[in-house]
């Protein structure tokens, strides 16, 4: 199976969950660059290449966005709808990673175009395992859409 260097955007405001997720991803060598934002507005700024992220390009989207639902400033569903509603960003894989047990959140997420939905396990080991599984699946097995022409000097794996 191919291993692709990937960027992940994690949208999470809970420090413990964030630290754990980062730890698991790095330990299993699952991602090269991980970007973290702490609220919905910053997530949109990042993905839409604006405000302090205006040097970003739509041609180099993250391979995966891990999106919590309960976020300050703008909640996850709102972020999801904006990302999935814009042709420039709609193909970015967005996986909801939330502690919410609400059926409503589950349906709103999938209906809103979320690629998948994971309920954060309460148990520490299960949480680590979930991060590992989602990392393996979305970064190794899943093929993300390719928008971009790779740089000339970097070379490519075939």
């Amino acid at each position: 199976m191919q291993f692709c260097n990937g960027d992940i955007l994690i949208v999470e405001d809970n420090q413990d969950d964030l630290d754990l997720a980062l730890h698991v991803l790095k330990r299993h060598n699952l991602a090269n660059k991980i970007m973290v934002v702490r609220d919905g507005e910053e997530a949109l700024d990042f993905l839409f290449c604006r405000e302090k992220y205006d040097d970003r390009s739509f041609h180099y989207p993250p391979r995966l966005v891990l999106l919590d639902l309960k976020l300050p400033k703008l909640d996850g569903i709102e972020v999801l709808q904006q990302v999935k509603g814009d042709p420039r960003t709609k193909t970015i894989p967005v996986v909801i990673l939330t502690s919410s047990k609400e059926e409503r959140d589950l349906m709103d997420s999938y209906n809103g175009g979320a690629n998948s939905y994971i309920q954060k396990p309460v148990n520490f080991n299960d949480f680590c395992d979930a991060i590992k599984q989602l990392g393996l699946y979305w970064l190794v097995v899943n093929q993300a859409p390719v928008n971009v022409k790779p740089g000339p000097v970097a070379g490519q794996k075939q």
């Binding site: 000339p152 000097v153 970097a154 070379g155 490519q156 794996k157 075939q158």
Partner: protein, 399 residues
């Protein structure tokens, strides 16, 4: 050209205002063996309409006709898009003017006082035109043949690619199901059955590898060749990253000096280094494989060397190893389909370079190839850039 004994037909258009001079010219031509039909015109309009009505074999023009210069006839011939030779038949013009007229398009210049030359001049002009036409025709046909050949090559390549691509699917089925058979029935049928299944699986897996190699070879020829500055240090880094497992398992050591930036296609160059390094490791001798990569400027660009301490190659095999599917050893001795070097050669040649090997059996091999330097920097200058950027004399990657 020998003078024909029969009369040669010649249709002449004379641009001349003196009836006497016209008569002289025509008589001279008849004396020279031509059966002449001629028309005489005195002005540009008459000239033009005569050309349109009845294009002649040759135009004989006087230089000085009062209202217009005879050289304007050349102009008109161009405008009418007619490839008819024009000979100036004129009084003394002087050398400078004569040469000028020839430069402007007159085929030749004959003095009215030396009309005896005229027939020879006419014949020569006609001959030249004939030869010129034949050459143009030949060039056109050559051009067509070249184009046909290129098209045929493209079609063949596309066919090879399409065939390999389409073969993958049924092959996948064969490979998968023979393996499932092996898994499900191993030890449950008899020994013969196990053996048969094993051979089938082996064949299927080899076919899959072959098809993938063919596709890789085909791609090496089809891919767009975006030529950009490629830093060979980064390219080698990528190649070594891809070979991590092999390096680790073989305990191979790869040393490389600081390498230049060349003009090329980075992914394809990565393939070249990767194939050469993989080979160097695969065909190792009793010692642990050590690979040294270096470069030096050459007048063709940069010359790279990939040197190993492996089993080496016999002199008589040195050319055939670059041929597709050409292998020097049995599959039992060394795995592989014999396509790696053919791919290297294809890629290097598409870059405008060449690749060869220097080797002795039992004494290792050095594969050398040439890549063009960046157009702006001559190798000598690039050398200076190199020593500026890279401080360490060499780096090694131990697997």
């Amino acid at each position: 050209m020998a003078l024909a004994h029969n009369l040669e037909r010649l249709q002449v258009l004379l641009v001349e205002d003196s009836a006497a001079d016209s008569e002289l010219v025509l008589r001279e031509l008849r004396r020279g063996g031509f059966e002449v039909t001629g028309e005489v015109v005195g002005s540009a309009e008459q000239f033009r309409s005569a050309l349109r009505a009845n294009p002649p074999d040759i135009v004989l023009a006087d230089y000085n006709l009062g209202q217009w210069r005879g050289m304007e006839a050349v102009q008109i011939l161009h405008e009418e898009n007619l490839d008819i030779p024009l000979i100036l038949v004129s009084g003394a013009l002087g050398d400078v003017l004569a040469v000028e007229c020839i430069k402007q398009g007159a085929t030749d210049y004959v003095l009215k006082g030396s009309l005896a030359r005229l027939s020879v001049s006419v014949r020569r002009a006609l001959q030249e035109k004939l030869l010129c036409r034949e050459r143009l025709q030949a060039e056109k046909e050559l051009g067509k043949k070249v184009e046909e050949l290129a098209r045929s090559n493209r079609e063949l390549e596309q066919f090879a690619y399409a065939a390999s691509h389409d073969l993958q699917e049924p092959l996948r089925m064969v490979a998968a199901y023979t393996q499932l058979l092996a898994e499900r029935y191993h030890g449950k049928l008899d020994e013969q059955a196990d053996k048969y299944i094993h051979y089938a699986v082996d064949g299927a897996l080899r076919m899959q590898a072959l098809i993938q190699d063919l596709l890789a070879f085909s791609r090496a020829g089809r891919q767009g060749m975006e030529m950009e500055p490629a830093d060979c240090n980064l390219v080698i880094g990528e190649a070594l990253a891809n070979l991590q497992l092999t390096l680790h398992e073989s305990g191979a050591v790869v040393n490389y000096e600081p390498l230049p930036v060349v003009l090329g296609n980075a992914p394809q160059l990565r393939q070249v280094f990767q194939n050469l390094i993989a080979n160097a490791i695969k065909f190792h001798g009793p010692q642990s494989p050590v690979v040294r990569i270096s470069s030096r400027p050459s007048d063709e660009g940069w010359q790279f060397s990939v040197q190993d301490n492996g089993i080496g190659i016999a002199l008589e095999d040195v050319n055939s190893i670059f041929v597709v599917f050409q292998r020097l050893h049995t599959r039992m001795e060394y795995p592989g389909n014999g396509i790696g070097l053919a791919i290297c050669k294809k890629i290097i040649e598409r870059h405008g370079g060449r690749i060869w090997v220097e080797s002795r059996e039992g004494e290792g091999s050095t594969f050398k190839f040439i890549l063009p330097a960046l157009p702006s920097a001559k190798p000598a200058v690039a050398q200076a850039v190199r020593s500026e950027n890279y401080e360490q004399p060499s780096r090694s990657l131990v697997g």
